[in-house]
């Protein structure tokens, strides 16, 4: 098990991504952040704060639960259902540029589900994908627009993002071979 990002590094990375977001979109007009539950939500809120420090503007921020859109939901003939949590997108996403935020990009299936969920809220002008970690092994044609850190991994490895708001401290950990 090795720590691939510590708290300082995560902080600097999110500040850098916030700058990239402002630069690429030439400001924050029509921007909105939507975090994918669970850990995408605090990352989205931190990005909103960082963007406010840069530009002084508030960017609306929401939370998306993708459980009901998962492609493996009914694949198990029998088994307990994953827990569903609240989706909170209190603003209209029509004609907005949505920054979809998640902690780890892996197979791309969560992002696929999140795209479907978002489209049910309206027709955004564009959707851009922000991830703290891209660990490779995509199973779908999905690519992030903003990446905190690329971490080369084997399929069986486990990447864990821990955040102050949920886990009590900030770090990204790589476990080799998925030894739990």
């Amino acid at each position: 098990m090795s720590i691939v990002m510590d708290a300082d590094r995560i902080g600097r990375t999110l500040t850098r991504i916030a700058h990239e977001i402002v630069e690429r979109n030439k400001g924050v007009e029509d921007l909105a952040l939507v975090g994918v539950r669970t850990r995408g939500v605090p990352i989205a809120k931190r990005l909103a704060r960082a963007i406010k420090e840069i530009t002084g503007d508030e960017v609306p921020t929401g939370a998306l639960d993708i459980t009901l859109y998962r492609d493996d939901l009914m694949r198990h003939a029998v088994g307990p259902q994953p827990v569903v949590r609240r989706t909170e997108v209190t603003f209209s996403i029509d004609d907005k540029k949505i920054l979809l935020v998640d902690d780890v990009l892996f197979t791309g299936r969560t992002t696929r589900a999140a795209l479907d969920a978002l489209i049910d809220f309206g027709r955004p002008k564009a959707i851009q994908l922000v991830v703290l970690v891209d660990r490779g092994h995509r199973e779908l044609p999905i690519k992030a627009d903003y990446v905190g850190k690329n971490i080369p991994t084997a399929l069986a490895d486990v990447v864990q993002v821990r955040l102050q708001e949920i886990d009590g401290h900030d770090e990204v950990v790589l476990e080799i071979g998925g030894a739990a």
Partner: protein
């Protein structure tokens, strides 16, 4: 879910059961899981596209042997919002009028492999009977005078939404206690969740079993309503009143009917609930039914979210299998 598992303190994250037959079999942790899930489901109803793909490809049969508007519609909307395929069978147009038994009807439906059957039946225990012979999940939408679990769950959801808790609240239930399946489900639920529950009716409409629930029984409506956080009224079921339980509807309305005057005894932020359909001017006055304390229409709205939660949680099935 066994009691041992529950006592180990593990948080319940799934309903590991095939059917929802009544509140009596549920643990307080399972009830909390259903109510929490319903909160997430409620948000879906406020979206421009009120539909999620969760139950895509699942077939749900709504089998109603008794007339019902709100429960059947509520289940149907819940099923559609989860993208299930739904089928409604109402008694008047089915082969039951040709003399088919419940078991034969169920087996015939079962042969077409639905995933779930939502059953409303006039006989207590009809859902238990079907749960033994059917592979499909059975959801009780009201059986005789036994239970109506989704009604109790939506009542609890509505109370929790306003009061943020159930434990320690004084809940007064006034009306026909004898014939009410809503009452039975609510008593199981409220006592499991730690509410202080009072029931009130003319002595002729109080069943013996009330003592078993550990609730306060009274025939003085003022005592029941005094300092209540929630007043729940039960319909005087005119269709089940073959015996002479009280001398006249007017007398019932005078002695037990919920009026603004009586309501002044309750807490200032009291909630008025009624499972519907109401007999205005009998168990509830129009001023109370349409008044500021009434949450009767919230109950109807919340029914959809609660039924979505039940359908979703039961769709996983009974067997425990590690999901990725």
């Amino acid at each position: 879910m066994t009691t041992q598992e529950l006592e180990s303190g593990r948080q319940v994250t799934a309903l590991r059961r095939k059917d929802l037959l009544g509140i009596e079999d549920l643990s307080s942790e399972e009830i909390t899981l259903i109510l929490d899930t319903a909160e997430a489901m409620k948000e879906i109803g406020s979206r421009p596209i009120k539909k999620v793909p969760a139950l895509r490809g699942k077939t749900v049969v709504n089998l109603f042997f008794e007339p019902s508007t709100r429960t059947r519609t509520s289940f149907e909307i819940a099923e559609k919002r989860l993208s299930a395929d739904t089928l409604n069978i109402a008694i008047a147009s089915s082969s039951v009028v040709k003399g088919e038994t419940l078991v034969d009807t169920a087996l015939t439906l079962e042969a077409m492999s639905p995933d779930m059957i939502v059953l409303r039946h006039q006989s207590s225990g009809a859902c238990h009977l079907l749960s033994r012979i059917c592979k499909s999940a059975i959801i009780n939408a009201g059986d005789g005078t036994h239970e109506h679990p989704t009604q109790a769950l939506l009542d609890a959801f509505t109370i929790r939404e306003r009061k943020k808790r159930l434990a320690g609240l004084k809940v007064a239930i006034v009306g026909d206690l004898l014939h009410s399946r809503v009452l039975r489900s609510n008593l199981h639920l409220l006592t499991k969740m730690g509410a202080e529950t009072w029931v009130c009716a003319p002595p002729t409409l109080v069943p013996q079993e009330m003592r078993r629930f550990g609730v306060v029984v009274t025939s003085v409506v003022e005592d029941a309503v005094r300092d209540a956080d929630v007043v729940m009224l039960l319909r005087i079921q005119l269709e089940r009143m073959e015996g002479a339980y009280f001398s006249s509807l007017r007398e019932y309305a005078t002695v037990f009917g919920m009026t603004e005057e009586r309501l002044k005894l309750a807490k200032p932020d009291v909630m008025i609930m009624h499972p519907g359909p109401m007999n205005r001017g009998v168990e509830i006055s129009s001023e109370v039914a349409d008044g500021p304390y009434s949450v009767i229409l919230d109950q109807v709205a919340n029914g959809v979210a609660v039924r979505m939660a039940v359908l979703y949680l039961l769709a996983g099935g009974a067997e425990h299998e590690e999901a990725a």
